[in-house]
């Protein structure tokens, strides 16, 4: 239940828990730890922070967001539809000569074309961001950690998932402690409280 979006491998029989969650005290320590986790070859892991730590994607070895291409596409679509709508209205649907002007007065169509282009691009940016981030995702194993509530306050975390090929139950926890984590904990996949119906 609810695990499909976590990309758990098909043969998920062996996974007793979600992974290891480690908290770091400073942004600097987190940055260094991310570099170390990246260099150790982990792939199924994440840094979780209350604010975007500047340049952390480099330390994590993440590729730049693909969002701009999507935004360009939706923006051009919006502008194209806007221009098409106006041309269609004035040439085909309701051809009316106003002030002796030709029917296809494209300069007059520029403002609405521009506005609809902006609308398309903005919708693309927001909805595309939601899609790439899989938002909304109301259930996530990390929320089962009491400690994790600090992620929206002052907690700087690294989580390594147990289905990472390099993952080793004790070894990964020790590895994170060695990088300067102040707290390391194992996070369960299923919430024991789920039986009572609470989220």
């Amino acid at each position: 239940m609810g695990l499909m979006h976590l990309d758990v491998p098909e043969a998920s029989g062996g996974y007793s828990h979600y992974g290891v969650l480690a908290r770091f005290r400073t942004a600097k320590a987190l940055y260094r730890a991310c570099e170390a986790v990246r260099d150790a070859g982990y792939s199924k892991w994440d840094a979780l922070t209350p604010f975007p730590v500047h340049g952390l994607e480099k330390a994590m070895g993440l590729k730049p967001s693909r969002l701009p291409f999507l935004v360009l596409a939706t923006g051009l679509t919006g502008a194209g539809l806007g221009f098409g709508l106006q041309s269609w209205v004035h040439i085909m649907a309701y051809p009316l000569v106003i002030s002796g002007k030709p029917l296809f007065t494209w300069p007059a169509f520029v403002p609405v074309t521009f506005e609809l282009g902006v609308l398309g691009a903005a919708l693309g940016a927001v909805l595309g961001m939601f899609a790439l981030n899989k938002l909304p995702t109301y259930h996530h194993p990390l929320f089962r950690s009491e400690n994790f509530a600090r992620v929206t306050d002052d907690g700087l975390f690294i989580a390594i998932e147990s289905w990472d090929p390099k993952y080793d139950d004790q070894g990964t926890a020790d590895f994170l402690s060695g990088l300067g984590a102040v707290e390391v904990e194992r996070v369960p996949i299923e919430d024991p409280r789920d039986d009572e119906g609470a989220a």
Binding site: L48, V89, V112, E115, A121, N133, L135, Y138, D153
Partner: protein, 486 residues
């Protein structure tokens, strides 16, 4: 006390810190979240109930308008656009400062914006809401207001896309939509903060639903920051286009006083001017009411005063150029329109406008006045009065003396005109009070990024400037000392 602290300059950068009071991540969260979580303070009701009463007046005045028609307003034959359009332009303009702060200052990497951008964006949305009411209700036959939109209908008629009025429909409604999305995207991490701090189930569900399950993943921040940057990049030309389009409602008419090419930049400057005055008014009240003097510091207020001085001078320049061009054009209608503006029946309105908009901000040349809370408050109110009158002067004084002296008349606002003006403030302040009560007023996640300990390379600059071959032991000791932020 806070004042002297605010202006203590950092020796290295030579600038006052953005946030004072020694905040760390946790105490900052606390400072922003507690006003949302604690029991409603009495002071809030003091603002909310009068606002709600004015909102009621707004409802009554709109209801009476729908029942009776636009005859309840002081409109007459030459002056067929009155308070409704004045209020519309005024409110759209107010909104523009919010977008300037949230988008344009973001693109220019003006980090001081982080403390005020949330409230300024909220102001934008509420101002656009107020603005959108007026074109909707002023059409007279409100039941056909849908004719403004390109909707298929039984008459097979379509709007005229060559008219700036239809451009306005698109510009303002898209501006409202994009501002709302921009604001909401910025809110998501802070809603998650309130969710994670929530003690009751209702709070958890209410804030949790809108937080979308945000968990601060950097894989998410990567797309999030990119989306935010692009929204800022989109909102910037959008906001400039919106008031330009609004100005074209006037500028494309051939009426003397309206038919000028200076209108788009002049309107945009005025919009930012009035909007900053409104942000100033709101921030001066909120920072005291919610005890955020250390987050919204004197540096923020002073920067806003500087922008008000700049835009105030631009507006003053536009007034002067309008007069000059009227004389220089040699066009007698144009010359009469502007002489009449300054000396005719609406001269009182013109001189209120000039004294509030041109003279008031000049005091901001003095640092003492930019740091004087009382004067900042008074001037922000005066500027808003002046900017409302600017739109009144443009609308009423241009219309009441048109080409044909036989049709000249004087527009006298009625009780219902004033009721809808004051009532729209009720809508605005009601929304703002609800926002200040239930949502985090400051973009906490963003402010955290400007705290020194948010920098993952904190203290490393020290190492870089030391020339090769210097004492490495001293370096090793210096680095952790410089980096011990948290």
């Amino acid at each position: 006390m806070a004042q002297s602290q605010d202006n203590t300059h950092e020796p290295v950068t030579g600038r006052a810190p953005l946030i004072v009071g020694g905040y760390d991540f946790r105490s900052l969260t606390e400072a922003v979240a507690v006003p949302v979580e604690r029991k409603t303070p009495i002071g809030w009701w003091f603002f909310f109930l009068p606002s709600l009463a004015l909102l009621g007046l707004f409802g009554v005045s709109i209801g009476w308008l729908f029942w009776e028609g636009t005859g309840i307003w002081g409109l007459n034959n030459p002056v067929s656009w009155g308070f409704a359009i004045v209020n519309f332009v005024f409110w759209v303009g107010i909104g523009h400062a919010g977008t300037l702060i949230s988008a344009i200052l973001f693109l220019f990497r003006q980090k001081w914006r982080t403390s005020i951008n949330r409230a300024a964006e909220a102001m934008t949305i509420f101002a656009v809401m107020c603005a959108m009411v007026f074109p909707g209700i002023h059409v007279g036959r409100v039941w056909v207001a849908y004719w403004m939109f390109p909707l298929p209908n039984q008459m097979d008629m379509w709007p005229n896309f060559r008219s700036p009025l239809i451009w306005d429909v698109f510009a303002v409604s898209i501006y409202g939509t994009v501002s709302l999305m921009f604001w909401y995207v910025g809110l998501i991490p802070d809603l998650a903060t309130i969710r994670d701090r929530a003690k009751t189930r209702i709070r958890k569900l209410a804030y949790g639903a809108f937080a979308l399950g945000w968990r601060g993943s950097h894989r998410n921040w990567l797309h999030y920051e990119r989306a935010y940057l692009m929204l800022a990049g989109l909102a910037t030309p959008l906001v400039l286009s919106v008031h330009s389009v609004v100005s074209m409602d006037f500028a494309t008419a051939q009426l003397p006083g309206w038919h000028t090419t200076i209108f788009p930049p002049y309107f945009v400057a005025g919009a930012i001017f009035s909007g900053f005055a409104m942000v100033m008014t709101l921030m001066l009240i909120c920072r005291v009411l919610f005890r955020m003097e250390d987050i919204i510091t004197m540096r923020h207020l002073e920067n806003m005063a500087k922008i008000m001085l700049l835009t105030g001078c631009m507006v003053g320049y536009a007034y002067a150029i309008e007069m000059f061009i009227a004389w220089y054009s040699g066009n007698p209608y144009e010359q009469f329109a502007f002489a009449n503006r300054a000396l005719g029946p609406y001269a009182w309105a013109y001189w209120i406008m000039v004294s509030c908009n041109v003279i008031t901000p000049q005091l901001f040349w003095f640092k003492k006045m930019r740091n004087h809370i009382g004067w900042l408050f008074v001037s922000s109110i005066l500027i808003n009065i002046g900017m409302w009158f600017e739109r009144f002067v443009i609308v009423a004084s241009s219309l009441h003396r048109d080409f044909l002296p036989a049709s000249w008349d004087y527009y006298q606002a009625t009780f219902w005109d004033f009721a809808s003006l004051i009532g729209s403030f009720g809508l605005f302040f009601t929304m703002f009070c609800l926002f200040a009560r239930f949502l985090p007023m400051v973009a906490t996640a963003e402010v955290k990024t400007v705290l020194p300990e948010a920098d993952p390379h904190q203290g490393e600059e020290l190492v870089r400037v030391v020339p090769v071959g210097s004492d490495t032991d001293a370096l090793a000791q210096a680095a952790p000392a410089g980096g011990g932020g948290a």
